[in-house]
């Protein structure tokens, strides 16, 4: 038996307003061997993240949807979540640049990927984030 099968699976949490994207991310990351939880934006999503303490988070920023920005700001501002590595995605280059220009408010993000995503690139970015954790 492979030794890695004895190791607890790393946990990826995905937060996105698109149910189709959440299913896609679940299929990708489960295929990669991760434990995956998915959530649409809601008033309880931050509490879920605090309790679950995922190894990495995938958060989407959408035009006209403040929830992603608010979640990033809260994650960065709270000690219980400030060290969780976050990968941000968006359909907008501009939004990704804006959040990266405001590190003090939203935190520093090593990966900001524009959608439609290359799934191999996304999987590699998550592997790198977790390896650095």
């Amino acid at each position: 038996m492979d030794d890695h099968r004895q190791m607890p699976r790393k946990h990826i949490a995905v937060v996105n307003s698109s149910p189709d994207f959440l299913l896609l991310a679940r299929d990708l990351f489960e295929e990669e061997g991760y434990h995956v939880t998915t959530s649409e934006f809601s008033s309880t999503v931050f509490t879920q993240i605090v309790m679950q303490q995922p190894d990495a988070l995938l958060v989407d920023l959408a035009v006209g949807e403040p929830e992603g920005w608010e979640l990033l700001e809260r994650l960065h501002g709270e000690s219980a979540t400030a060290d969780i590595p976050v990968l941000i995605t968006s359909t907008s280059h501009l939004l990704l640049e804006q959040v990266q220009d405001q590190e003090e408010r939203y935190g520093a993000h090593r990966y900001a990927l524009v959608k439609p995503l290359d799934l191999d690139e996304l999987a590699a970015a998550i592997r790198d984030l977790i390896a650095r954790d």
């Binding site: 035009v63 992603g68 439609p116």
Partner: protein, 91 residues
């Protein structure tokens, strides 16, 4: 509210931005599903090399078409949409 504050809150500064997002969201699903299928095809032991190559060619064509649509969407501006409306005879 200042323009930069609107951006911070994720509010649309331009209806074209919202249109771009609404068009790219389903394209994200299409491209992602094509990538997942390509992974499965590469691993499928029951396929002949010819079958595998033909399926991967088809999935690559989907990916290419999606990214061509993204380039069109990124090139959209308010003026180009207005011009399109006039060409179609709409008010």
């Amino acid at each position: 509210m200042r323009a930069e504050d609107q951006a911070d809150a994720g509010s649309p500064l331009d209806p074209i931005d919202e249109l771009r997002h609404n068009l790219k969201t389903p394209l994200t699903t299409i491209r992602g599903r094509a990538h997942l299928l390509a992974r499965a095809v590469r691993r499928a032991p029951s396929l002949t090399d010819e079958e595998r190559a033909r399926m991967l060619d088809g999935l690559t064509a989907i990916d290419t078409a999606v990214m061509a649509m993204v380039a069109i969407i990124d090139g959209m501006s308010r003026a180009s949409v207005d011009d399109s409306d006039e060409t179609a005879g709409r008010p």
